[in-house]
Symmetry: C2
Subunit: 189 residues, 2 copies
DNA sequence: ATATTAAACTAACGCTTGTTAGTTTGGTGA
DNA sequence: TCACCAAACTAACAAGCGTTAGTTTAATAT
């Protein structure tokens, strides 16, 4: 259990501000004020504003990648794999709601790491689409347009960050189950 | 048929840039360069950067409001009303893809008009939720959590702007039908 | 030809931005 | 008690921001 450093606190605070106004609209002075210090003091802990964004987005993107890798290498049915994907999104979003906002809305402001991020995202979507196509081939899923199915599921899952904070009463398991029902039963055969 | 003014051209160009980088990251000099003129020249046509955002977002929000009003005052079944909502989103997004990006991502940077925008959005969501609840009461829809159903549909529909440009081959009717299938059949009784 | 006008221009403004350099503070371990 | 060090500070920078004022250009209408 790694202990929370001052740098971590800055990243957590930045995530919250980035969620509210977006990366570009948050100034280093905004961030410093939220931390109760002066802007220049931030630079004792971080290298640049850009580095904060990178730290937020890349770590989440890598969580998704390793989660997806576990799923595709499991021997579950394709329906079960889709349910595991729903689970993955609910879990990651639950423990990093604010960071998901940056991942969704501010990825284009990554500079050096933009290519790497896009690579991870493309691979993730290709794996996702593949599960759906396999599910259709094996008649587990209705023969709808696989891209539309993925689009519908993925955009809903990506928007969870907007919705989870409003429903704190609902625990992660219940939410995951309800979502699986709504998202998957419509395409189930 | 009102003819295209220079101001309209600026708003169209701004929409495209706002979609790519977000409102805050686009400078008036960026916009001017994209128009092939100098930044100061923009002010012969518009009052402020803020006004451009307002023009983009509020007009779309009002389109949604009047579309929703037509739907709730029609005597269609609740399932049919949901299909009409899908249609409404596909149509508005098809003819203003870029503007939808600002509506989704930059509404919080509205200043004077923020309250008005939120009012329209809240009313829209209340009407949407009501249709789902009525559908459940009349047994047209499965007895799932109505908020999750709305969340799932609405986030998919709000994200259409990301997806429609990639699928120019698919016409609006086909897309609307496929989406209705995926989104509604899962909750249909 | 002349007056009008839409739409561009140059030049500059005051302010905010991310960031750096160098310094002070206050607590911990030797 | 003193050296150390993380973490704050003040002061300042060059660049970029949205915007204004006043001027020029080129096409249209009288």
């Amino acid at each position: 259990m790694k202990q929370e450093t001052r740098k971590d606190e800055i990243i957590v605070t930045a995530s919250k501000l980035f969620k509210e106004k977006g990366y570009s609209a948050v100034t280093m002075r905004d961030l410093a004020t939220a931390m109760g210090i002066k802007a220049a003091s931030l630079y004792n802990h971080i290298n640049s504003k850009q580095d904060i964004l990178k730290a937020i987005i890349i770590s989440i993107a890598e969580e998704f990648t390793s989660g997806m890798n576990a799923i595709i290498h499991s021997d579950a049915s394709n329906i079960d794999k889709l349910e595991k994907i729903v689970d993955l999104h609910v879990n990651i979003t639950s423990h990093n709601t604010n960071g998901m906002a940056s991942l969704n809305n501010d990825w284009m402001h990554l500079e050096d790491q933009l290519g790497y991020y896009l690579q991870l995202r493309n691979e993730y979507e290709a794996n996702f689409l593949n599960i759906i196509k396999e599910g259709i081939l094996s008649s587990e899923l209705k023969n709808s347009n696989p891209e539309i199915i993925m689009f519908s599921m993925l955009t809903t899952l990506r928007s969870l960050y907007l919705w989870i904070p409003k429903k704190e009463d609902l625990n992660a398991n219940d939410l995951s189950n309800s979502l699986s029902e709504v998202l998957i039963e419509g395409i189930n055969n």
